[in-house]
Structure formats: structure tokens, C-alpha cells
Symmetry: C2
Subunit: 346 residues, 2 copies
């Protein structure tokens, strides 16, 4: 899923996101609750109509965002109180209220409020937290008024026992899909993948398994091997705005002087409309000149890259050659990154 | 002409500019000379290919921009020396060099280097300047190596005698089109239009008369009545990025709180793709959230507005009801502006 936190996949028009091939976009209930407010979006006929996106929307509850406020929030069994980073106003959100917000938005897949633990986190705190997150998950399920699905979210940091306990509790409650939260929060790739590996194995194979916040191409492919089905990540869009383009040969820093006269597309052999039309030289110029079109072009390319990667992964799985596919992809991607690092490009 | 100073109409993809209906875009030889450099663009196969624009390009010489550098430039009969605002490097441009740059870019209509006088400007200085600008125009014409057209540019401030002298000199040299420069440089609308009126009347009716830097909708319509055929202006695109949308009822400030829940398009009755799809409420949200899509949407709308306005002007001229059309447009546009000013919106 491309990330459309504030009801827009940054820099892109919904037609462009659709053209890349995405049919599910993530938006953030917490951000939209604060601005423009769920009532504004409900009055507009829901989030799909508000943002002009005719396909499916998953809304994150904003647990991750609330807990990123650190100094500005206070957690209790009942819910979380916090101050708006926009205007300092006080808010109190319960699991029930967060479901209600997502129902107002008209989300197709809702996420419950959860406590997203930082890394590292001591085990006693993590134990209390994961138990509360499971109680919140149950309250969230009970709070659903219509028939929109809400997923369960596994937390528990890097502690196998806590992850296990949490997953068992979620399975007891029963959800139409399960998310693995609390990865990509400061731990290493290997630690995160270890969490995905154990957790995905405990989750039912016939329900979507969604790894939240993962989208680094190599990590995503590895997580797919471990059973993950869904992902969201700001990386393709955020990297793009920093002038970092994904290619099969690793990350290309478009601002680099070596591309000043490079008449090749961002990625040779790429079938995306950006690569069909514009050169590295032009994209580099746009970034140096501070032109918005540069942000757009690299964003569109990176989303196309991710979509193409998942298509190829799906194909490799059905042809029973997924491991070889992943190994080939990762070694080429990382070799490209290393080459660029060695020559001082990154 | 929409303005694509740095080889991009700000925030838009060339397909979008084309879809609005434009077939001629202005780019700036001075800016592109400094960055990325004419050789980079020539290597790319010219400016059209570099920026992915398949239609015509007019390149401004950058006279206006050089003279905006004030402290950083020094003018002599031979040309102008200046320091790059990007890196402080020293440059010297002659009229011949500026033509050569535009030929490297592959411009379809070239503009000669001219001295764009500020307003106010004393008459003795203006006299010397306009004579030099005419000598530069002749040198520019002589410098053309291929068959690309170069226009003559009228200068002379608000002094009728100097304007007259300059135009006569340009007509002696002979150009395939004529521009009226030095308007929109600080004088009032009325003073600028008075210059357009006298100058356009002296210029041949069978050659394009191009008023540089004018694009305020009412001023543009008035200038058309005086014989002007071509315009360029950053106003539609720059205003858009400041959240100011053009409508038949004047300028609409999209950030305004009154639009928070307004489910209408930016302009009711507008046939542009932005108005067909998005509401004021959503566009306002995008601006408040600092989202790039907001800039894009208002830019596209404003360009559509200008294109539609020129279409309607053309139609009114052929139907011999231009004066009534202009009066109706201006009174409605200004009444809308006044209404919004009164209620504190602008």
C-alpha cells in the first residue's frame, strides 16, 4: 500500500496512483481526525469521495503516531490523551472512538488503537502493554457498528513469549485479518524479520497477514517469504522526495553530479511512464532547481518499482522459484547500493 | 503562455499543460543558461526533448531577470556582466551569446537581450537605454544562424516619444513579431495599458504583438482590445501556489475557513478536470496540510481558467461583441473580489 497519510499519496494525483496499479491505499485516521476532522470528511461523503480515490482504503488507527508524540500524550486503560501537534488542543481517544472515526471516514479496512512500543522496551512494560493492546483490540471489535472489517494487531516488541501470548489472545477474539505491528521502530532488520517470522507462523494462513511500516524492498521480499501478505511504508514516497530512486541496481541519488548529462531514464528497462519520458539529467535538474515535478516523477517511479516488485514476487511464488528470485533481487540491489556508496554517491 | 522558467511549468507535468490546451510555453534562456546550462540541454536533443514538451517553446532572453539582479550586474554597450545568484560565478552575456544560447535550446521563438527599465526611470537614462536595446535587437537579428524567428522588443518606459522612436527603429530592422516589454514593472495598470495602447497601434497588425509579463485577467482582456495577441505571466501559476484560484467571480483564497466544508468545486460551472473531481473543502485541506497536490490542482485550474478566457475572448471578437464581453467579465470579476475583500477573505 502506498501511504496517503493526509488523504493524498504525497505529490500524486489519485489517477496516477491508480495508473501504477494500486487498488488499496493507506490513510491515517489519527491525522485526519486532527485535520480536517472526521465530520468534514463524513459530510463530503466519506474519505474515498473526499480524496477522489475510487478504490479501497485501509485506515491506520494512528497508534504509532500517537505514541510518537511522546511528551504530548498520556496512556491509560481507558485510552490515550494527547495534545494536537498542530494547535496544542487537548484530545482523548478511546479504542471505541478510533473505530467510530474510521467508520465516519468510510474505511474499507480499519485498524484498532494499539500501543506501539518503542525499541528497546523493558519486558515488564512490554507485558503490560501487549495485554492492554489486546483488551483494546477486543473493545475495538465490539465497537464496530457496521460490517467494516477491523484487523487485530500483534505487539510485544522483540519478546517471543509476549508476541505469542498476544497472538493467542487476538486469535481467541477472532479477526478477519492480522497485522504485525511494532516492527521498523528502531530494531535491526534481522530483529524485525525474526518477529515477522515467528508471528506470521502463528497466524492463520487463510487470513491476510499485514506487516505494518515495512517497505524497504529487500525486507519486504524477505517478509513475503515468511508469510506476509500486506505492507505499507512511507519509504518509496519519502525517499522519492529526498531524490532517492529505487532501481533493480539499488538506490539512485538523482541529485548526484554524475547524472548531470545522463540521458538514460531513472532506471534502464523500467516500463513506467516516467522512465519512458524523462532522463536522469532532467530529473536531476528539477531537484536542483527545487521544482515540484521532480518530486512527482521520482515518487511515481518508486511506486511503480514497488508495484512491479510485488507483481514479480507473486509470479515467482506461483512458479515455485521464490527463494531464487529473492536472492537474485537482493544481491543485485545491494551490490548496486555498495557500488554507489564506494564511489561516494550515497 | 504558461511560464515554464526552469524547463517546467511549476508543479505540472507536460501532459497536463497539453491537456489544458496550451501549445506554446515560455521558458527562460537566462535561467537555463545558469542551470543546467545550454550544453546539457543541447546534448539532450534540445529543450523540447529535455522537458518532454512536444509543442512550441518561446524563450525569453532573460533581460528582465538580469536587470532584476540590480547589484549583481553591470551593463555596457557590449553586453551585461553579472554574478550568478546560485553560486556567485561571473558571467558576461552579449546579445549574440543570448541568441546562441536560445539556438542551443532549440527555441521556436527567440527573444533578444534587452534592457528592461524599472519604473520610475528618468527620461535621459531611458533614452540611452532604449537606443541601446534597439542596437542590441539589430545585433541579435544579425546573430541568428538558423531560421528561428527572433522578435523585436519595444522598451522606453512610459515615455511616448521614446516608445515611438524605439518602435520605428525596430520596424526599420524588421522582425517577424514584436513584443512590448517594460510593462508590469511597477507602473500602474493604467500606465501599462497606455503604453500597450500606443505601442500596439504603431506595430503592424499582421505580425504578432506580444505583451510581456501581463496576465492579470482583466489587464489581459483590456490589452487584447488594444491589439495585443500574446501574453505570458507567472500570475496564474504563482497565485495558485499561494492558494489563490481564479474564478469568474474573482479570486478565491482556498485556505479560507469558509471553505472548510464547502462541497462545491473551486469554480462552479468550470469544466476543468480539477473542478470535475475535487471540492473546495479538499483543496483547502491540502493547502493546510502542506500537500503538493493542492499546488497542482489550483495551478491546473488557473491555467484552465486563462485558456478558457482567451477562447471566450477570441469567440467574442469574431462575433463582434468584444467590448460587452470584457465589460461583463471585468465587472463580475471585480465585484467578486470586492465581496471577498469586504468579508475579510482576501
Amino acid at each position: 500500500m502506498p501511504v496517503g497519510t493526509q488523504a493524498t499519496v504525497k505529490t500524486l494525483h489519485p489517477d496516477e496512483v491508480e495508473r501504477v496499479g494500486f487498488r488499496l491505499v493507506l490513510a491515517n485516521a489519527f491525522h485526519l481526525y486532527l485535520r480536517p476532522g472526521p465530520d468534514v470528511i463524513a459530510e463530503a461523503g466519506g474519505l474515498h469521495r473526499f480524496m477522489g480515490w475510487p478504490h479501497a482504503l485501509l485506515t491506520d488507527s494512528g497508534g504509532f503516531q500517537v505514541f510518537s508524540l511522546s511528551e504530548l500524550r498520556k496512556v491509560s486503560e481507558e485510552g490515550v490523551s494527547f495534545r494536537s501537534p498542530h494547535d496544542g488542543s487537548s484530545h482523548f481517544l478511546t479504542p471505541e472512538a478510533v473505530i467510530s472515526v474510521q467508520e465516519l471516514l468510510g474505511s474499507d479496512i480499519m485498524m484498532p488503537l494499539d500501543e506501539c512500543l518503542p525499541y528497546p522496551c523493558d519486558e515488564a512494560h512490554a507485558r503490560e502493554s501487549v495485554r492492554m493492546t489486546c483488551r483494546w483490540a477486543e473493545r475495538s471489535k465490539d465497537a464496530v457498528r457496521g460490517d467494516r472489517p477491523v484487523f487485530g494487531i500483534s505487539q510485544g516488541g522483540t519478546y517471543p513469549d509476549l508476541r505469542r501470548e498476544g497472538v493467542e489472545r487476538l486469535l481467541d477474539i477472532g479477526f478477519p485479518g492480522y497485522a504485525i505491528g511494532g516492527v521498523s521502530v528502531g530494531e535491526t532488520s534481522e530483529q524485525g524479520l525474526a518477529v515477522v517470522e515467528m508471528t506470521a507462523a502463528w497466524l492463520p494462513r487463510d487470513k491476510p497477514r499485514y506487516v505494518m511500516g515495512v517497505g524497504e524492498p529487500c525486507d519486504m521480499l524477505r517478509a513475503i517469504a515468511l508469510g506476509a501478505d500486506m505492507f505499507d511504508c512511507v519509504m518509496p514516497t519519502r525517499n522519492a522526495r529526498n531524490g532517492c530512486a529505487f532501481t533493480a541496481d539499488g538506490r539512485l541519488v538523482v541529485r548526484n553530479g554524475r547524472y548531470a548529462r545522463d540521458g538514460r531514464p531513472i532506471e534502464e528497462g523500467c516500463a513506467c511512464p516516467v522512465c519512458a519520458r524523462f532522463t536522469r539529467s532532467y530529473v536531476r535538474h528539477l531537484f536542483h532547481a527545487g521544482e515540484v515535478l521532480g518530486l512527482r516523477l521520482v515518487t511515481e517511479h518508486n511506486l511503480h518499482f514497488m508495484m512491479n516488485l510485488t507483481r514479480r514476487a507473486r509470479e515467482a511464488i506461483t512458479q515455485d522459484r521464490y527463494d531464487a528470485f529473492v536472492n537474485d533481487f537482493i544481491s543485485r540491489f545491494q551490490a548496486g547500493d555498495e557500488r554507489r556508496t564506494l564511489r561516494g554517491e550515497r
